[in-house]
């Protein structure tokens, strides 16, 4: 029996490959308007069996993907306090301007003289990001935060190599995001973990112990992934600078400090932006994003090519006013094709233009107020069961520990998260950062209302209260989602990563 799309899917999920019928189609090919010639591809290079793509009419395709879309939770429908991810409102203006044909149908190899609008935009964005970071040189090229990190460590290597040194140790606090250590390895370096002290900040003694002349770089997130501004950041910088290492600032949490404080002013050499976080590129189910980097003078010579430059002599010599600069002999080279995720730049630029300096600072203010307010509400309601992991306040996000809840009520952070789904909220980030038991990292962002924060706090409180009565409810949650808990272990044991097709 086919029934309405209820939260619990009543029908077996079917893929587009199971839809349609042989001979159905959506695409209508343009007519062959040139003489047909046989044998243009040598027999051995010619494909004998076409790829078994779906065969479906346009209405079938639309229905399939529209229906599927309804099985997603999305930010336009509800609260999404995923810590470290800055799930803020995505203004639709940005989609509109990115879709303008002058942006969206512009070929990346268009002659720069005929892409002056794009280059002006990129140049202005470089300037704006430099100003926000307090670091004068920007490469927009990296495709995401982790790509920016990789650029950063390769830049560090290039910097040291240029000075005749081959340093390979990279210091990262234990609480670092997974991309940090993974990046270090990919860049041919070794991770040296730095412990946290009991306030959640970098353990200065441990840092001092581990800092030596082999250290290439310190990678640190500030505010940290615990939502805490590193108390001794000045000391940390002094220690690392002392051995001649570079300082890398993971900018994933810039949303907390825009207009308040700048990595460059703190003494950092390299910062990456997550434009999809701080600058509200829609997350798309996991991208696209962009991870531009801003760097200090000493790192600048090594930046990837090309950069966008403005030539004061613009029109005179026939060269365009805004241009790509490839002539950077010490550059580490390219990180990818073309010039980066331009469509993301357009959105970011629109955002910065909409907000201006004051608006950007307001964002940080409200983000921090919202986080602290939600924290206060939760401490009041469930402070015993879900204590703040460190300290008393937070920046734009905060880290709770579910350890008491687990111990006393027998439900885990995972259960709480799943039960939140039944309340219509997306759960926070769970089990990250490492080092805190049953961690729950909550980032409300500045675009949420007080009412939403209240409703979320109430939901958490209701779940905890419910678990005091009957923990089984949470343990088996969710109940009102398209599917219930999924067998992840089974999926990994016998991976089925594509549809099996008959013919």
């Amino acid at each position: 029996m086919s029934v309405a799309e209820t939260p619990l899917q009543a029908e077996r999920a079917t893929t587009i490959f199971e839809k349609g019928a042989p001979g159905r189609r959506a695409f209508v090919a343009p007519e062959l308007d040139v003489p047909h010639v046989d044998g243009l591809i040598p027999q051995e290079a010619r494909r004998s069996e076409p790829p078994r793509l779906p065969e479906a009419s346009e209405p079938e395709i639309v229905r399939h993907y529209v229906k599927l879309s309804k099985r997603n939770f999305d930010l336009d429908s509800g609260f999404y306090p995923l810590g470290s991810c800055t799930m803020k409102h995505n203004p639709r203006l940005h989609e509109r301007v990115a879709a303008l044909p002058g942006h969206s149908r512009l070929h990346p190899l268009q002659d720069p003289r005929r892409a002056q609008g794009a280059l002006e935009l990129m140049f202005n964005l470089q300037q704006a990001l430099a100003e926000i970071a307090g670091l004068p040189h920007v490469s927009l090229q990296p495709s995401a935060g982790s790509h920016g990190e990789l650029a950063g460590v390769l830049l560090t290597r290039a910097y040291h190599a240029d000075r005749g040194e081959d340093r390979r140790k990279v210091l990262t606090p234990e609480s670092a995001h997974g991309t940090n250590p993974a990046t270090v390895t990919m860049a041919g370096c070794q991770v040296v973990k730095v412990a946290l002290d009991d306030t959640g900040c970098v353990d200065i003694d441990d840092l001092r112990d581990k800092t030596d002349e082999d250290v290439a770089c310190l990678m640190i997130t500030n505010p940290s992934t615990l939502g805490i501004f590193e108390r001794e950041i000045e000391e940390i910088i002094a220690i690392v600078r002392g051995v001649g290492a570079t300082l890398y600032y993971d900018g994933a949490n810039l949303n907390a400090v825009m207009g308040w404080s700048r990595p460059g002013d703190m003494g950092f050499d390299i910062v990456h932006f997550n434009l999809h976080k701080t600058f509200t590129q829609p997350h798309g189910g996991g991208g696209p994003g962009a991870g531009p980097i801003a760097v200090s003078d000493r790192i600048a010579p090594f930046l990837p090519v090309p950069l966008v430059v403005r030539r004061s002599d613009g029109d005179d010599d026939g060269r365009p006013e805004f241009d790509f600069d490839f002539d950077r002999p010490k550059s580490i080279g390219r990180l990818r094709g073309f010039h980066g995720n331009y469509g993301v730049f357009v959105r970011t630029y629109a955002y910065i233009r909409s907000l201006g300096a004051k608006g950007l600072k307001d964002i940080s203010d409200v983000a921090v107020v919202n986080a602290n307010y939600l924290l206060a509400r939760l401490r009041e309601k469930v402070g015993e069961r879900l204590p703040l992991a460190f300290g008393e306040r937070c920046m734009h996000e905060f880290l709770l520990s579910g350890a008491p809840m687990k111990k006393e009520l027998g439900i885990r952070t995972l259960d709480l998260a799943k039960r939140l789904l039944d309340h219509g909220h997306h759960p926070p980030t769970v089990y990250f950062p490492l080092g805190v038991d049953e961690a729950l990292l909550i980032e409300p962002t500045e675009t949420e209302t007080r009412e939403t924060l209240d409703a979320f706090a109430d939901a958490i409180a209701a779940i905890v209260a419910e678990a005091e009565e009957d923990p089984e409810i949470a343990r088996n949650a969710p109940y009102t989602t398209p599917v219930r808990r999924l067998d992840e272990a089974g999926a990994a044991k016998r991976p089925r990563v594509r549809e099996t097709l008959e013919d």
Binding site: A118, A128, Y342, G356, K358, F432, R484
Partner: protein
């Protein structure tokens, strides 16, 4: 207060009270005095939506896009028609605004899309498994080489000179990280020099990278490359143009281990070079070494079919410094566009569009090569892009064509010193015979004019 936040004065007061502080400033006490910016950041003041729109439109109009001219530029990204349903789906809040499906119970939409995408890419490439996307083409090549490095732990990487210059450059940059040496294999008669390849191969070679069709548009003998490489147990990485794979043999059927590439031709906009997506497919053997997200099928507590992110122990958030890659945010939305496009094109359409490009490319090549002062750079079979030589300065010829509203192609000299007189011309289903004839007219006139000018000068 901008329209994206909601904090009223009343809200603020109540919230600060609840927090127990007297001012917003207090919440920032943690920032050491010396680290505070003592002035506003310098940016133009914020503007209303209509003004921002107007400004972005002004910038858009300073670009000459494929809307404004007849373009034959390709070289890695192509002006294909993006069907309207792709836009509609990519713009649906449900696809546009969530993040990575960490909570599968409320992410079945995107997870199933990933699973379907993986199936489509697996079919296209003829390889058993695909991930859910990487950033884009050239970095996909580098990611494949990193996989080879981890799998084989060998020092050398051989790369055909037919591979996209951006892919080669990216590989060079990244190889510093893996401590690998990238060795270029030259071309012989405009395709990978098999003798040179065999020569260069050895037991320290982790992978051989080839591109299909190669940057000059020529069809490579991928099987021969693969056979040679496999003799030394090197991995074979093929960077392919996915939209040619309706008519060109699947790399997976020709013995390659990894097939990667730029996904833009599949329903993604040009966007001045991004965002698009990179695809990444492999033989079963490398499933657990792949970078990025992978969706897998499973069942829920009631036995319902469902999908999850799987094999996550490969990934940075679990394995950290021992991860197979550092990739986190990738290109999920663009990959969605890709699989919707492939569904729209369908099993017959993928062949038809390939065949259409093939025939028009042949027509264009013959028509242009018949012009005075224009020759083919090579005679090798091509599918959708081909190279010419001009008996006139390429840049000036391009300039003349642009003035006539035709973007005649990519000046090969920008990437290959040896082809300073080369012009790379790309065809899509949007370039009709009339467009090609117009190109012939404009190009012929431009070359003639430049030769005349040179004649006068000479």
């Amino acid at each position: 207060m901008a329209g994206y936040t909601a904090l009223t004065a009343d809200d603020l007061k109540a919230m600060l009270d609840a927090i127990g502080v007297g001012s917003v400033e207090e919440l920032f006490d943690a920032i050491p005095e010396g680290m505070r910016l003592d002035r506003p950041i310098e940016l133009a003041p914020g503007e209303p939506e209509q003004a921002v729109y107007a400004d972005l439109r002004r910038l858009a109009e300073r670009n000459v896009s494929a809307d404004d001219e007849i373009t034959f530029v390709g070289a890695g990204m192509y002006d294909h028609y993006v069907p309207a349903l792709v836009d509609m789906l990519m713009e649906r809040s449900e696809y546009l605004t969530p993040y990575t499906p960490y909570q599968p119970e409320v992410s079945q939409g995107h997870l199933q899309v990933m699973f379907e995408y993986q199936t489509a890419i697996s079919e296209l490439t003829g390889l058993a498994v695909s991930n859910a996307s990487v950033y884009e083409g050239p970095s996909a090549v580098a990611a494949a080489a990193y996989l080879a490095k981890l799998a084989r732990k060998r020092r050398r990487l051989l790369v055909s000179r037919g591979v996209h210059p951006h892919s080669r450059a990216t590989l060079e940059t990244m190889a510093v990280g893996y401590d690998a040496d990238v060795v270029e294999i030259g071309l012989d008669d405009y395709v990978t020099d098999l003798d040179a390849l065999r020569e260069a191969l050895g037991d320290d070679v982790g992978a051989v990278v080839v591109q299909q069709p190669n940057f000059l548009g020529a069809i490579e003998d991928v099987r021969a490359v693969a056979d040679a490489a496999h003799e030394h147990d090197a991995l074979v990485i093929c960077a392919a143009d996915p939209l040619t794979l309706g008519v060109l043999e699947a790399p997976g059927h020709q013995g390659v281990d990894l097939c990667v590439g730029e996904g833009q031709p599949l329903g993604n906009r040009l966007d001045f070079g991004g965002p698009s997506f990179g695809f990444f497919a492999a033989t079963e053997e490398y499933l657990r070494s792949m970078p990025g997200r992978i969706a897998g099928e499973t069942t829920d507590a009631d036995g319902r079919r469902g999908f999850v992110l799987t094999l996550q122990t490969r990934e940075q958030h679990i394995r950290r410094e021992r991860a197979t890659s550092n990739i986190c945010t990738s290109q999920a939305l663009n990959a969605l566009g890709g699989v919707v496009y492939l569904s729209w094109l369908g099993r017959r359409g993928i062949v038809e569009i390939g065949e259409l490009m093939l025939q028009r490319t042949h027509y264009a090549r013959e028509t242009l090569a018949a012009l005075d002062g224009v020759r083919k750079l090579h005679d090798r079979p091509v599918v959708r892009e081909f190279a010419l030589r001009l008996d006139a300065p390429v840049d000036r010829v391009l300039e003349r064509c642009a003035a006539e509203g035709v973007n005649a192609g990519y000046a090969l000299g920008r990437s290959y010193d040896e082809y300073g007189d080369g012009l790379l011309v790309a065809i899509t289903e949007q370039r009709s015979r009339a467009d090609i004839d117009r190109l012939a007219e404009v190009l012929g006139a431009a070359v003639a004019a430049e030769r005349d000018a040179a004649g006068v000068t000479a």
